[in-house]
């Protein structure tokens, strides 16, 4: 079997808030077709770790490389390769659901994005809301739209922070199936999750952060 390329390499990562060290000397390597699930209790540092990996937060020490390039959030190459769904996704208040996805696909160079946009809208069950403005969506629908943004564009690494949040049972089943298919298709995935069924279906490796409560 051909050796799979390393997509994400995290070495010696450290983040502390004052005297409280969230994680230290954290190492992680994720290859194409691998899915790593970060688990652990609330406050274990899963979201902080993901934010450091995608460049939304600045680690105190350590390095992050994506496809051999040092992680710089401002780098167009990194933005091209890494799709993220973390809590800071914003929306244009005056663009509809479908227009957001169309814009994203076109920005990534997809010349005829209608097919993929329609397909993803169907999957996330937002077809009836395609003309709605984001401010009118429910929290669950906004979450689905955030997830859709990751699937209408090319990607080598997918980073998700608790993607199961605000999804109903049906949505969770769809997400688990979709992520599994994406992984089998060669996508590298890192996700933080509290949902055992999602972790069991998607993850090839589980990394538990923090220590168990005494």
């Amino acid at each position: 079997m051909a050796k799979r390329t390393t997509v994400l390499k995290v070495s010696g990562l450290r983040r502390a808030f004052g005297p409280n060290t969230i994680f230290d000397k954290f190492n992680l390597e994720v290859r194409a077709g691998e899915a790593v699930a970060l688990t652990g209790r609330n406050g274990a540092g899963k979201s902080t770790l993901l934010r450091c990996i995608v460049g939304a937060d600045r680690p105190d020490d350590g390095n992050v490389e994506v496809c051999g390039n040092p992680m710089r959030e401002t780098s167009p190459e990194i933005r091209r390769d890494v799709a993220t769904v973390i809590d800071d996704l914003d929306f244009f208040p005056d663009l509809s659901v479908v227009e957001h996805l169309d814009l994203l696909a076109r920005a990534h160079g997809i010349s005829e994005p209608d097919e993929i946009v329609d397909e993803v809208l169907e999957e996330v069950q937002l077809v009836p809301q395609s003309g709605q403005l984001p401010g009118t969506l429910s929290s669950g629908q906004r979450r689905r739209l955030a997830l859709a943004t990751a699937f209408v564009r090319p990607r080598k690494l997918l980073i998700l922070d608790e993607p199961e949040q605000r999804l109903d049972t049906e949505g969770l089943t769809w997400l688990a199936g979709r992520l599994k298919t994406e992984r089998q298709g060669g996508l590298a995935i890192v996700l933080a999750s509290h949902e055992p069924s999602l972790v069991d279906t998607v993850a090839t490796r589980v990394v538990e952060l923090g220590t168990a409560r005494g």
Binding site: E73, P76, T84, I86, F91, D94, I110
Partner: protein
């Protein structure tokens, strides 16, 4: 799911906690709104730790300061009134006759727009939960709110009417007439909007807002035209006051009719409509408390988008950064109101030129354009405020910023061409310039307005987690006060050379430097990120050197 071992087991419904209890029967005579309000007032008074007099006595410095500043302002207005009252030129007479009308129309337009945004009748979330769901008359609970909104509009309108009338040199009787007319018109506008709110309709309020806005601008343009001697008014000196009295009667009638209608319909206003106005006020007041005007605007924009709710989707165009530019164009076509506002500012340089203030034309025009351009930069605001959306796009921040401002820049270019004749100088008593200089001045002014708006739009909220700065007013987070001047600084700095009579090339050079900083990711945050990255690399190389040194020492041993 199986019940846990520790969970209690109930064999019948009768054993459930609370079983057997019945809800209290509906009262035949529930408490009146007056009783409920009295009860809440008693509780609040019971918890007060100070009387009103004591609070004033504790804050005597603020009270005396406010009185002194108020007296100074009134003194300045009275002095200005005496000076302007002596002016008998056509421009002064036209301003004295027409500007109070412009103020009246403007006050009504603002009152209607604010009413549409906030309600005008509103309730807090607590009132909505604890009071509006009770069987107490909603009309009686909200009656005081309606009166308060109308009174505030009357006071605000009267102040504006009196101020404009006084500053244009009118006598005391006319000042009082225009204060009453503008105050009653503002109050009538709010009462009218409340009457529309009662039947959940906003079309008439919206239409009236635009009509009065256009009337205000038209009145200003007439003043400019008379001052520039393009036309003459041909009205008597006392006609303004007479029309003011007519306006008092008319707006008084509108106020009475609207307030009666609003009072009848008060009980029909939906709870969600009342609460959304309350939530908006609380959100905006929170943003203003942090002096984050950008956030306050975001809240208003989000609220408007929620009101619209649904749009007809349009297919995008172009690929890569072009897709962002096309989307900006489509957004502007969908909601073209900001374009009209920018169009309205074209009158500013012409007005300044006609009124003989050609030295200040660049400053006034840049500031007006700066304020009008902010709504055009909604895309830039969304892409820069959190970084989440920009991270999804495969471009550098500089590319994203340039793509977002391309359409607004084209609009500013058209503005530049439209205002160039004003910089050439049209009036008899103004400075006349050659076409090239005028075009360069217009370009520099347009650039100053655009870049000021870009700086304002990109402003980050105040970081309350950062170390505080010690000031005489107490500890303040860095950036709290400077946030207020963002954008104004670029406008003033860029137009400063022209204000001093220097070449517009100096202004263009300053604007070019500002553009490099603002659009090329050289803003403070990016610079800090780069510094941190370099610091990290230095640390890593230092560690490597130390490790190599230690290894060499060990080998020697």
């Amino acid at each position: 799911m199986d019940a846990g071992a520790d969970e209690p087991v109930f064999e019948s419904a009768a054993q459930l906690p609370g079983a057997g209890r019945v809800p209290p029967e509906a009262a035949t005579a529930p408490a009146s709104a007056r009783e409920l309000k009295g009860l809440i007032r008693d509780w609040r008074r019971g918890r007060a730790t100070k009387k009103l007099g004591e609070a004033f006595s504790d804050g005597y410095v603020v009270v005396i300061g406010a009185l002194m500043i108020g007296a100074m302002v009134i003194n300045v207005i009275l002095k200005a009134q005496r000076v302007v009252a002596q002016c008998t030129a056509a421009s002064c007479l036209s301003a004295r006759t027409i500007l109070p009308w412009a103020a009246l129309a403007g006050a009504v337009a603002v009152a209607l727009a604010a009413s549409r945004l906030f309600g005008p009748v509103l309730a807090s979330a607590a009132e909505g939960f604890w009071l509006l769901d009770t069987p107490v008359s909603r009309a009686k609970l909200l009656g005081a709110r309606l009166v308060a909104a109308v009174v505030v509009a009357f006071v605000g309108g009267a102040a504006i009417g009196a101020l404009i009338s006084a500053l244009t040199g009118s006598g005391l009787a006319e000042v009082l007439i225009w204060a009453a007319a503008t105050g009653l018109s503002g109050a009538g506008a709010v009462a009218f909007a409340a009457a529309q709110q009662g039947i959940d309709r906003h079309l008439l309020t919206r239409a009236a807002t635009y009509v009065f806005g256009v009337l205000g601008i038209a009145a200003l343009m007439i003043v400019v035209a008379v001052a520039a001697r393009w036309t003459s008014l041909g009205l008597g000196l006392d006609v303004g006051g007479q029309l003011g009295v007519v306006m008092i009667g008319f707006s008084g009638l509108v106020l009475i009719a609207s307030i009666v209608l609003a009072r009848i319909r008060l009980g029909r206003i939906r709870r969600t409509r009342l609460l959304s106005g309350g939530a908006l006020v609380s959100g905006i007041s929170g943003a203003f408390y942090a002096l984050d005007i950008g956030l306050a605007r975001d809240i208003v924009v989000e609220r408007r988008a929620m009101e619209i709710g649904h749009v007809k989707p349009h297919r995008g165009k172009g690929l890569g950064v072009e897709a962002i530019m096309w989307r900006e164009w489509q957004r502007l076509r969908r909601f073209p109101q900001p374009l009209f506002v920018v169009g309205g500012t074209i009158v500013v340089p012409y007005a300044a030129d006609a009124l003989g203030m050609s030295t200040l034309t660049t400053v006034f025009s840049a500031l007006a354009l700066f304020a009008a351009t902010i709504p055009l930069l909604g895309g830039l605001r969304v892409l820069t405020r959190t970084g989440g959306l920009a991270r999804c796009l495969p471009f550098s921040l500089a590319q994203i910023k340039l793509a977002s401002i391309t359409v607004p820049a084209v609009v500013e270019a058209v503005w530049t061409l439209a205002v160039t004749p004003a910089f050439v100088g049209l009036g008899d008593s103004t400075t006349h310039r050659d076409l090239t200089t005028a075009l360069l001045m217009a370009l520099a002014t347009g650039a100053a307005g655009l870049l000021g708006a870009v700086r304002w739009t990109q402003a980050k909220g105040v970081d309350f987690g950062a170390p505080m700065i010690s000031t005489q007013a107490g500890a303040l987070p860095p950036g709290l006060m400077t946030n207020l001047f963002r954008g104004f600084d670029v406008c003033l700095l860029s137009t400063f050379p022209m204000l001093l009579g220097g070449s517009p090339f100096w202004s263009l050079a300053i604007a070019a430097i500002a553009a490099l900083i603002l659009l090329n990711s050289w803003d403070a945050e990016s610079v800090r990120a780069r510094q941190a990255e370099q610091q990290k690399l230095l640390e890593a190389s230092r560690k490597q050197r130390d490790a190599a040194k230690t290894a060499a020492q060990q080998r020697k041993r």
